[in-house]
């Protein structure tokens, strides 16, 4: 009897299986895919935190860039808190369309409480028709039980679960990966160029961590690695390059 119970406990305590092989979704950036062991794991939870609250749009852009690769035309659930919509604005269809995501395949859910947000995310992850589920959290913690529930729900359907957070979290996490993403200055020529992200992989259950400067390429509809990462010198006083329209 006790042995049986122990076995059940063991089964319950075991971390959610991380699937290998077909369960990964490559970013098609060899450097990052190698670190991630083939790419983002489907059916697992990935945390993407903004470097600061102002960088939340950049973190959202990175999350969408990852979600873009989850299917030829991904079906997306974006779950936010009410406060998040007020603070950061609602997803804009025309902007998503430019990101290679069809707005008609997006369902937006707004939740009044953190509890509802996690519940809605779990329900959305259970549904096999969803390719990616983005849950956007304002500042605040999330307990490990909730993370585990989300991971299990994602494992059930094989959807990509992305937890977007407005600030770098301090709590320990059982998510498969944790990223801290901020905006990076773009290759300014004539006006703002393609958006760049300073992505930092701070936790990776499958191996090493790292940090990269990525750029969204509209032509390929995917993230690409920028060759020259940071500008060497600060653009302090010389403003001759600025284009005034």
């Amino acid at each position: 009897m006790i042995a049986q119970l122990r076995q059940r406990l063991l089964a319950l305590q075991r971390a959610p299986e991380i699937k290998h092989g077909p369960g990964t979704q490559p970013l098609r950036i060899p450097a990052i895919d190698a670190v991630l062991g083939g790419g983002f794991i489907r059916g697992a939870l990935h945390e993407i935190a903004a470097a600061g609250e102002a960088h939340l749009p950049a973190a959202a852009g990175f999350a969408l860039g990852v979600a873009r690769r989850s299917a030829p035309s991904p079906r997306l659930f974006w779950i936010t808190e009410d406060m998040g919509l007020v603070e950061s604005g609602a997803p804009h269809g025309a902007g998503l369309d430019a990101f290679g995501l069809a707005p008609e395949r997006l369902v937006m859910v707004s939740a009044a409480h953190r509890r509802d947000l996690l519940w809605a995310m779990e329900e959305a992850l259970r549904c096999r028709t969803n390719d990616a589920v983005i849950g956007e959290m304002r500042i605040g913690g999330i307990d490990s039980v909730a993370v585990r529930r989300l991971s299990l729900a994602a494992a059930e359907s094989g959807a990509l679960a992305l937890l977007l957070r407005a600030a770098p979290p301090s709590d320990a996490s059982t998510a498969a990966t944790r990223w801290i993403v901020g905006a990076a200055p773009s290759a300014v020529a004539h006006g703002p160029a393609a958006p760049r992200f300073a992505a930092q992989l701070v936790r990776n259950r499958r191996g090493p961590v790292g940090s990269w400067i990525l750029e969204w390429s509209n032509r390929d509809e995917q993230l690409i690695l920028t060759t020259h990462a940071q500008p060497v010198a600060a653009t302090a006083f010389d403003r001759s390059h600025r284009q005034v329209a």
Binding site: A58, R75, G95, V107, A120, P185, P195
Partner: protein, 508 residues
């Protein structure tokens, strides 16, 4: 038709809520005077009647208990009684201010006949402590007349004429002035005018008199306007033993949904909006509605929908001493095609619809939305997020893409603020992009800007607002914003207000 008149609604309401022994009167302001609006039986025996001035009533009987009127509470009470009457028939209509009309045709046999239904209704009203009088007749007019002026509980189906003849003319729901002028020529009872030549009567007293008479006698049809829309499909279950547990309620829902399924299938319909009505033994009625994103027939799915609805109720179901009747009605039915037309295709669509329904039931339909492209060039109006349950197909995005390619629309932000937020901006040249700006107390140095993209306001409308010049800017740390300047400097000369800067959205 059953006419129910709650004679002492105002005083019964107060008497139910507190103990009172003295004669009770309800007062209110009419014009400038404080007058009696309702009295109870004891006060009536003392010779008080509505319309009397309060000061006079107090002078006559100092011991009376006077309470200020509360029309809202009375209306709410009448509404709850009307809800409760749904247990007899779905067709309940207002008869303001203190009565109800019930169309019981086809429902009476469920109680074993009209008399038994009336007995059941009277028994429950008596238990609840209401003074009432009710009558059943073939027409609304006759039922109303005998409830208000006839013998209590008289039943006349098909013999309206004999029933109405001895009643006073005011029983015909005529305006008091008409009744008074008829009385002046000696016409006091309905019987007096029933056989008079019609033309002179109309010429002298207007058509309303005969109109009402014809309605009461059934010569003319009088429609009943139910206070709630009549559901096309209804299934109900009376329970011998009241139920209280949520699981039992769900079992009943499942059973009722099975019955609805047969009815829906026969006509090829599916439910888009379903309402559950639970009748508590003590007269309280709970109504819970749930919407669906596609026509639904499957009892299991209907049951699953209510699992979420019940879980989402802010206050628990509160069964009190239990529910003794449950009714499941389909409020909106829609033809249910053999193949689903939904958000996508085939099995996937069905599963997504299930998810959307489940989330909508728990969080509310307005919290689960999809984006639709609207026919407008003003950014905040160009898109609308509408409940996902109501949207099918591509929601205007094909048209949007064609439009974007045609005019080569410049980039749009990933997120748009609900309303543009004012910022303090410094620009190099009046019509140029800002050099730096302050948004939410943080200062941003602009390193790159693109624009302007001029978007005219709705100049054809009074509330159109000024033209806007939009700029896409990037600050030092790489954050990208969508700003605009409302108003043009060249309009300053014409007396327009100085242009102001706003932040409208953020790019990735």
């Amino acid at each position: 038709m059953l006419s129910l008149w709650l004679r002492r609604l105002s005083t019964d309401r107060i008497a139910r809520s507190r103990e009172c022994s003295a004669p009770l009167i309800v007062t209110g302001k009419r014009g400038n005077a404080e007058v009696l609006t309702a009295v109870d039986d004891a006060a009536e025996r003392l010779g008080l009647s509505p319309g009397l001035a309060l000061a006079q009533a107090r002078a006559m009987h100092p011991g009376i208990d006077a309470v200020a009127e509360d029309a809202e509470a009375e209306a709410a009470l009448l509404e709850s009684i009307a809800d409760w009457c749904l247990r007899y028939t779905p067709l309940v209509a207002w008869d303001t201010p203190d009565g109800l009309l019930l169309d019981i045709s086809g429902c009476a046999h469920l109680y074993g006949g009209e008399r038994e239904l009336a007995a059941d209704l009277s028994g429950r009203l008596e238990d609840a402590g209401f003074a009432y009088s009710l009558a059943i007749a073939g027409t609304i007019g006759a039922a109303w007349a005998s409830a208000h002026y006839g013998e209590p509980a008289s039943y006349a189906c098909g013999e309206e004429r004999a029933l109405l003849a001895p009643l006073p003319l005011s029983a015909l729901r005529l305006p008091p002035t008409t009744v008074a002028s008829l009385a002046r020529v000696g016409l006091k009872h309905i019987g007096d005018i029933a056989d008079l030549p019609r033309a002179p009567l109309t010429a002298r007293f207007g058509s309303e008199v005969l109109h009402q008479l014809d309605r009461a006698l059934g010569r003319e049809h009088e429609p009943l306007t139910p206070r709630l829309p009549v559901a096309p499909y209804v299934a109900e279950q009376r329970l011998a033993e009241p139920i209280a547990r949520e699981e039992d309620v769900l079992t009943i829902i499942g059973r009722l949904a099975c019955r609805l399924q047969f009815a829906l299938e026969r006509r090829g319909d599916g439910a888009r909006r379903i309402e559950l009505i639970l009748f508590r033994t003590d007269g309280v009625v709970r109504r819970i509605a749930a919407g669906t994103s596609r026509p639904l027939r499957d009892p299991d799915e209907i049951r699953a929908l209510f699992v979420e609805r019940l879980a989402a109720l802010a206050d628990a179901l509160d069964p009190g001493f239990g529910f003794d009747m449950a009714r499941l009605s389909v409020l909106i039915a829609e033809a249910c095609p053999p193949e689903q037309i939904g958000l996508g295709g085939g099995e996937d669509a069905a599963e997504l619809c299930r998810l959307v329904d489940c989330l909508s039931a728990r969080l509310g339909a307005r919290r689960v939305r999809r984006l639709t492209a609207q026919d407008s060039h003003i950014p905040e109006v160009a898109e609308a997020a509408l409940p996902a349950q109501t949207i099918n197909g591509d929601a205007g995005w094909h048209a949007f893409r064609r439009y974007r390619e045609q005019i080569e629309l410049s980039p749009r932000p990933l997120r748009l603020l609900t309303r543009p937020e004012p910022i303090e901006a410094v620009a190099e040249v009046p019509d140029g992009p800002p050099l730096r700006f302050r948004w939410r107390r943080a200062l941003h140095e602009v390193v790159a800007a693109e624009g302007p993209e001029r978007i005219e306001g709705a100049w054809w409308s009074e509330h159109g607002g000024p033209a806007r010049d939009y700029f896409r800017v990037e600050d030092k740390s790489g954050l990208r914003f969508w700003l605009f300047r409302a108003g043009l400097y060249r309009d300053l000369a014409q007396g327009a207000a100085a242009p102001t800067w706003f932040l409208h959205g953020t790019f990735a």
